[in-house]
Symmetry: C2
Subunit: 404 residues, 2 copies
């Protein structure tokens, strides 16, 4: 029997207990031994839930119990998660976490501590919910130099954008629907402003390049500025607008960004809709691969956590090697990165036509039957050029990068 | 330095050497040591190729050299691949293979030999080319009971079906095009009759259920009977016809089949086109996940092989546990499996209408403006019912299962 402790009995923590109960037999077969939840740490009580008898409020009970071999952290946030996880490792316990904030910030340090002690620090559930992506990056794509990772990494924003696209809703209505269905939090800032996706692409980039990519360094733009009018043009183009989190290596430089992007049906992420996530990876020998699935949700995320528990159980006393040095990877400034930009300008189309061509040269003119505005797609130009020309042009209603 | 030997210097074997040359530095970092190709075994000579000096014709040179720690087998077929691989394991060498025939037939036995000797027998490249699927099934989806695996596992047939769908080609023309482009072999039987996909779903099913699934037991239907007229109806339905290899668990029974199936845009495999492969997996807690990428090709397949070599190098002296017992899994007879069937019948539509309704009850009538035939989709009925009614009806031009 392998004893574990679950920190935090919220959505994911209770999911972990549920998965272990549901599939206990097959999990035991794969882990080589039965997994037993010895403690659950939570500040709340759960009267009537059988978990109540395993509930503790003091982390030291868990840390000081040598029988606990694996700790699953699902408290979220940095404090007290960071100190609990670090202490657990220092006490000789492997740790599994779903906490992307913790992993993005302290992943390198915690992996180091685990390695020194022949323990494991595993975090499959921190990115893409149940989708296997951390382990494939770490163990399957080892023959490749990763050239690009582009993901739809946030289910909430993908749901909102899907509904705006399919049902012609405006942003506020789509967000309100998502909140009503429990897909968006009451304070949706973290999701809709791109911070959640940003932390996840920081984790994937750190693993892909083996060095610390700080989420603060990643250019991040959310979806709050996307309107139903943008979607009218997207529809006319047979395109979709997706919140893409990308990190791309060009020559020996890496740039990363989170931003809404228009893509067409030839992009593998085009058909990743609703709350689903998709992660597209391009390697220099494998070519293009994509991983798709539920990016969030109680059971899918818990499935990833328990798979990590199984791996930790199978590797008792052996560190699974992960290359993620604490040395910082300096990202390239995005100002020279090029895209074709979709641009909407307020004003009379006939009057704007010539002015736009003077400024941008040849453009692809768009028509979505909307009055009082003019829309076009530029040739391939840099972020800096786009910024400068936007200022010169004036009256710009929206700018969205495209991948076509 | 870790010495390896490559058996077979064809497309994949030479790809393995190329990948090791191209990404040698990063591979060394991940494997913990430099990977050196000490020998290549091939019956041919390669004058002018630097590999010539490593070429041997006698397997015993490799088997008897204790410096060789890992053997990569890319000869294909069962003989002599099976005896070479088995001998290598018995001589204490880990083995990596891309040979699906070998793995489907002898996977359980070879895994056992490897386990007993703390070696590894790895075969990521045997299914889905470069797509990570074996390792995710084995190590990432361990918290789940697998309910379904459905894959587009053969690039040749997917290319042919894609071209028939997009360009309205008939089967023979699409096949000829595929042969001209090198996507289909001169003797395409193995691909177009579904045998290749059948072996691959046998491997995936064996891993998912931990028992031996014999490919001979799997109902297999190829795409040679699919015509441009079938695609005319598919188009009218916004559907695609794909060669799907499935294994599905219902209650405690598993059935498996390889057959052309009509799917619509709501199925994750709908947008897997051309030579790409996609593997859809449904677990009882993770829900639906999909893996997508190049299912064949020199470098993608070699990428998977080299990733296995890296894993074997990292696990020198430790067996990576894989549950695949040699105990045979008895598949359920498919006669009670239910689908909605697409059916085309020769004759006058008006005359057939009533007869079809008498026989099938309510059906969905289809119209693709084709003269002299009548087409419809049945309600959900069993394979046996469909077979019986087909015989009663007479004049049936085609029957294709649908997933909608």
């Amino acid at each position: 029997m392998i004893n574990i402790a679950v920190l935090g009995y919220g959505v994911i923590g209770s999911g972990v207990v549920e998965v272990l109960n549901t599939n206990g037999d097959s999990i035991a077969k794969r882990a080589g031994d039965r997994i037993n939840v010895k403690y659950v740490l939570d500040i709340n009580d759960f009267p009537g839930d059988p978990i109540q008898e395993k509930l503790v409020k003091d982390i030291n009970i868990i840390l000081d119990d040598p029988e606990v071999k694996i700790v699953c952290e699902h408290i979220g946030g940095l404090n007290p998660a960071y100190s609990f996880v670090k202490s657990a490792l220092l006490k000789g316990k492997s740790v599994v976490t779903s906490n992307k904030e913790l992993v993005a910030k302290y992943g390198a340090e915690l992996l180091d501590i685990a390695k020194e002690r022949s323990l494991n620090f595993l975090f499959e559930a921190s990115v893409g919910g149940g989708i296997p992506i951390i382990r494939p990056l770490n163990q399957s794509l080892t023959a490749d130099e990763i050239i690009e990772i582009t993901g739809i990494l946030n289910g909430t924003t993908n749901y909102i954008l899907s509904k705006m696209s399919e049902e012609g809703l405006d942003f506020d209505t789509a967000l309100a629907n998502a909140q009503r269905l429990g897909y968006a939090e009451r304070n949706p800032k973290n999701d809709v402003e791109g911070h959640d996706a940003c932390r996840k692409i920081a984790i994937l980039s750190s693993l892909a390049y083996g060095m610390q990519v700080d989420s603060e360094d990643i250019y991040t733009e959310g979806i709050t500025g996307i309107s139903d009018k943008d979607f009218a043009y997207a529809k006319a183009l047979d395109a979709k607008i997706k919140l893409l989190a990308s990190s791309i290596r060009q020559d020996d430089q890496v740039y990363a960004m989170v931003a809404p992007v228009m893509i067409k049906a030839n992009h593998p992420l085009y058909s990743v809709n609703d709350v689903f996530n998709g992660i597209f990876v391009r390697g220099n020998v494998i070519g293009d691969v994509m991983f798709y699935g539920s990016g969030a949700g109680k059971l899918p995320t818990a499935s990833a956590v328990v798979a990590d528990v199984v791996d930790a159980a199978k590797h008792m006393g052996t560190n699974i090697w992960t290359i993620w040095s604490s040395k910082k990877l300096e990202l390239t400034d995005i100002s020279q990165v090029k895209h074709r930009f979709f641009v909407r300008v307020s004003g009379d189309a006939n009057e704007l036509k010539d002015h736009v061509r003077e400024l941008f040269g040849e453009v692809e003119e768009l028509n979505a039957q909307l009055q009082g505005e003019y829309a076009f797609i530029t040739e391939l130009i840099s972020e800096q050029e786009m910024k400068d020309k936007k200022n010169t042009l004036g009256g710009v209603l929206s700018v969205i990068r495209t991948r076509f």
